[in-house]
């Protein structure tokens, strides 16, 4: 990944959601941690263009991101904090096919891509399932499949394990670890953060730490105390 934030900040009216920051993200995995309301999700949404910078700019893989279409052009996929909202169609297979169709991929090619994506996540059994009947882990895997089917270069996960029990957490974490794509993972799950080579810590809209997981987590624990 090659993500550059240049004096990039976000304000919502009078409230500063993210202080202007200059930052370059490289490598295959980056974690983002911080207390609730610290600016993590705002930071993540900048990379797909769901939030626009109030100052400065952000670019992903050489594309300046101003809107979701820029985010898609840069090859960014986003797995939402509430994956139930991400799935638009009532049946998992239909949802994945719908995303592919929107990209102009239809018929057998789309069917094959859908099957291959689910197989890659070990979730073939979800293909014909109704979305509203899926468990927390299953819906997370289905949301991942809907994003991965579009072959992104970078996937941003917003708290992918926050609603999961231990078993489902293990399944989802294994799926994330096995991804070939670059990944940025916003999380409260310190065990997951610990496994990442680089972790950013946000606090009150400011980048508080950027370095090894151990350092960032130690500082996070002190902030939360």
């Amino acid at each position: 990944m090659d993500i550059r934030f240049a004096d990039c900040g976000v304000r919502f009216g009078e409230r500063v959601a993210l202080q202007p920051l200059n930052l370059r993200l490289e490598g295959r995995r980056v974690g983002i941690i911080g207390l609730n309301g610290s600016g993590k999700t705002t930071f993540a949404r900048l990379m797909i263009g769901l939030t626009s910078p109030s100052t400065g700019s952000v670019s992903v893989n050489g594309v300046e991101i101003k809107s979701p279409s820029d985010g898609r052009a840069a090859g960014t996929g986003f797995v939402f904090q509430t994956p139930q909202s991400q799935l638009i169609m009532p049946v998992v297979r239909e949802d994945i096919l719908f995303g592919l169709k929107a990209r102009g991929i239809v018929s057998r090619e789309a069917d094959a891509c859908c099957a291959a994506t689910l197989a890659r996540l070990g979730a073939e059994n979800l293909a014909g399932r109704r979305v509203h009947e899926l468990s927390g882990g299953e819906v997370q895997l289905a949301a991942m499949a809907s994003v991965l089917a579009l072959e992104p270069r970078l996937v941003v996960f917003d708290e992918p394990t926050s609603q999961l029990d231990l078993k489902n957490r293990r399944i989802v974490v294994s799926a994330i670890e096995a991804l070939d794509e670059d990944a940025i993972i916003v999380t409260h799950d310190l065990e997951l953060a610990e496994s990442l080579p680089r972790v950013l810590l946000f606090h009150e809209g400011r980048l508080e730490a950027d370095g090894s997981a151990r350092d960032a987590i130690d500082r996070y624990r002190r902030l939360a105390a």
Binding site: V91, F98, V147
Partner: protein, 200 residues
């Protein structure tokens, strides 16, 4: 509206094109409203129920598929009994029930994506007139089918929350929080549609 179908069969009806089945459904609707004989309508009802039970793998799954629409039909029948002579109300009830079962047969034997594709094709003239974007009609149908169980689940959660706190469940104390939840969900879905590029 039917419950969300899951189509896995390979029978004759499954192999027919979605457009053909939807056109047949429309023609059946016209024919049914030209028929006034109760005997013929009852026969049509029996045939439709038998076909639905066959394609759904039994009467119970068939009823599950058609139940949401059948509840509305029963309410409609009750109102008709108040305003129409009984034979006429029964005829209307039979016609609408046969249509509901026929629609359930179509949804039980057709992939949602195929139905969405037909709706998208039918909506093309409106796209050319600039009244909607490509794929909007299909997206709307998919979202409806997707969100009905969600809204039902949110309603149940609110009812449970009232009961857990010993509060009386009243429509006006449910509707406001339900509307807020639905709007919040709509906001999140709009973000997802943008992020996934589901609208050009």
């Amino acid at each position: 509206m039917m419950s969300t179908p899951i189509t896995t069969g390979q029978g004759w009806l499954h192999r027919q094109r979605a457009g053909t089945k939807l056109a047949a459904l429309a023609i059946l609707g016209v024919i049914l409203f030209l028929v006034h004989s109760l005997d013929v309508l009852v026969a049509a009802l029996v045939i439709a129920a038998a076909i639905l039970a066959h394609v759904s793998g039994g009467l119970t799954p068939a009823l599950r598929l058609a139940r949401p629409a059948l509840i509305s039909v029963l309410l409609f029948f009750a109102i008709n009994l108040l305003v129409l002579p009984v034979p006429e109300a029964v005829a209307v009830f039979l016609r609408v029930t046969v249509l509901v079962l026929a629609a359930a047969i179509v949804t039980a034997t057709t992939q949602l994506a195929e139905i969405v594709a037909v709706i998208d094709r039918l909506a093309r003239p409106f796209e050319r007139m600039g009244l909607m974007q490509r794929g909007d009609a299909g997206l709307a149908v998919g979202l409806c089918l997707r969100l009905i169980p969600d809204i039902r689940a949110q309603y149940s959660e609110l009812v449970d929350a009232h009961r857990a706190r010993g509060l009386k469940v009243r429509p006006w104390t449910i509707m406001a929080p339900l509307a807020i939840r639905v709007l919040m969900r709509a906001d999140a879905i709009a973000d997802a549609i943008d992020a996934r590029g589901l609208r050009p």
